[in-house]
Symmetry: C2
Subunit: 321 residues, 2 copies
Amino acid sequence: MSDLPSRLHISEEGPREGFQIEPGPISSSDKIALIDALSDTGVEHIQACSFVSPRLVPGWADAAEVVEGFTARDGVTYTALWFNDRGLQRACEHKDKLTVRGSIHLAVSEPFSISNLNRDRDGNLKAVRQYLLDHKTADVAVEDITLMAAFGCNFAGDIAPEQVIASIQDGIELATESGNTVRSVTLCDTMGWANPHLIEHTIGAVRERFPEMKIALHLHDTRGLGIANAYAGMRLGVAEFDTTVGGLGGCPFAKQPGASGNIATEELVLMANELGIETGIDLDALIEAGHLAERIVGHSLPSAPLRGGSLGSYRSRASVQ
Amino acid sequence: MSDLPSRLHISEEGPREGFQIEPGPISSSDKIALIDALSDTGVEHIQACSFVSPRLVPGWADAAEVVEGFTARDGVTYTALWFNDRGLQRACEHKDKLTVRGSIHLAVSEPFSISNLNRDRDGNLKAVRQYLLDHKTADVAVEDITLMAAFGCNFAGDIAPEQVIASIQDGIELATESGNTVRSVTLCDTMGWANPHLIEHTIGAVRERFPEMKIALHLHDTRGLGIANAYAGMRLGVAEFDTTVGGLGGCPFAKQPGASGNIATEELVLMANELGIETGIDLDALIEAGHLAERIVGHSLPSAPLRGGSLGSYRSRASVQ
């Protein structure tokens, strides 16, 4: 009755997304240590940093130092995030280590867009046009749409699948204008509004309208349903997930201090292991990286396996007894 | 494709199970305040206290004071836990407020039974025989089996559905000997080993062997899969869940300091609300009770809605804007 994938492709976003909500400064060497620890877990993809305005996000003023500092490991794709030409140019200076590719960022909820990006829908479409022009000039492909607030919004309330379709349509039109072809969409539950049924309805609607589109899920655990939503997505064959080690993160623009961040990479890997789905990730090594993340931020993180441990470790001990 | 129930029957175990792992003493008045707050949320069933040896569990030496102190509310069933005749006698002194009913407690894992109850399988069956005799003498029905470690064990490793069936068979035979009829079984994921597939396999096997048996799930979130496991159970029509407000608890015998407790009542209610399943519980009132539980234990609890808030509250605000 389900269409579980045989392998998950996990994008580890802890180093980039995870630290932006932390109150204290995180040193470049700590960021590098976490990226290096994650590189040793078997994860395929790490989003390493943000090339954003140091004025708006002072915590990423050191993005270049971080990229220069980590050790790129064979088989791991390292990416970064940016929103404007200055960021793109900074990323392009690190093509030796970074895979430079763009993504059209749209918020399904206009009130969230105003709060998060300080732009209404028209302002955002205009900004995306400029973004696409800049990427064309830099010869960087943009084949992905990132849809924020795709399942609901603290400011706008519920989001219907039809609104998601309309935003994807916006993104496709902008991409086509600029000579790009959209191949994937990342549906972000930015403020933790999703539930298993809504995941099913939204993914079903997107697939019906755009049958060739690859769908990724970026889920937050704001209200505790993150892993159930991931399971609902996996049952529909979704194989691409953004997660953060330890469950680092949380949306600094959602006006919910202390709210949980992304779903924890450890929990998704543990579930995949138990369901017989490959991830390529060594869960015990990942849990070690999670403990490192806790030492870096100086507080415990929400990921349950950081305290409960992997099942593999208990199975080994049980079989010895 | 799923058989979601139209209504959940939630047994709130926070007051009883939740405090046993807390290091500090919890005052009787705090316990009473939490029970009273929970009584106002619309929950159907509250397990209020344990009548266990004050020597083994000093935190429940005040069980009688707690029962005398709380205000029994119409429509709410209050129960207690005990393991021997002394506990049963103490519970029977409070029949004005407590619904006194027994449950055959068995651990599917013998190593866990030894660690938790200090008895091997034979010792445990002998103890259950005595328990059933005591209940017959007191004219208290025993129609339920509580199966601990039904999905895996930190000491024994994996638990197969066949072992669950065998333990239920043990319980039924003991009940029958004593003139009782078992009508329900509570499958406990005491140490957080379950995953959605195992939930499906085990429930499927139990239903095939015992088609008339009502199945309840008592899930712990030790490794972060609790809510996904609850969703898997709900998809099979399971409607009876034990949960704790705030996610209070954790198994003191599992040798995992800091591991998460039961699944949080707030998260299950929130998921049920979003799936259109009745619970009778006011989620915002429940979140208030969760904040009270946090003040009582003096630390934050794992339930995400305690920080993320209900969706209803955000929907109301969004519709006003």
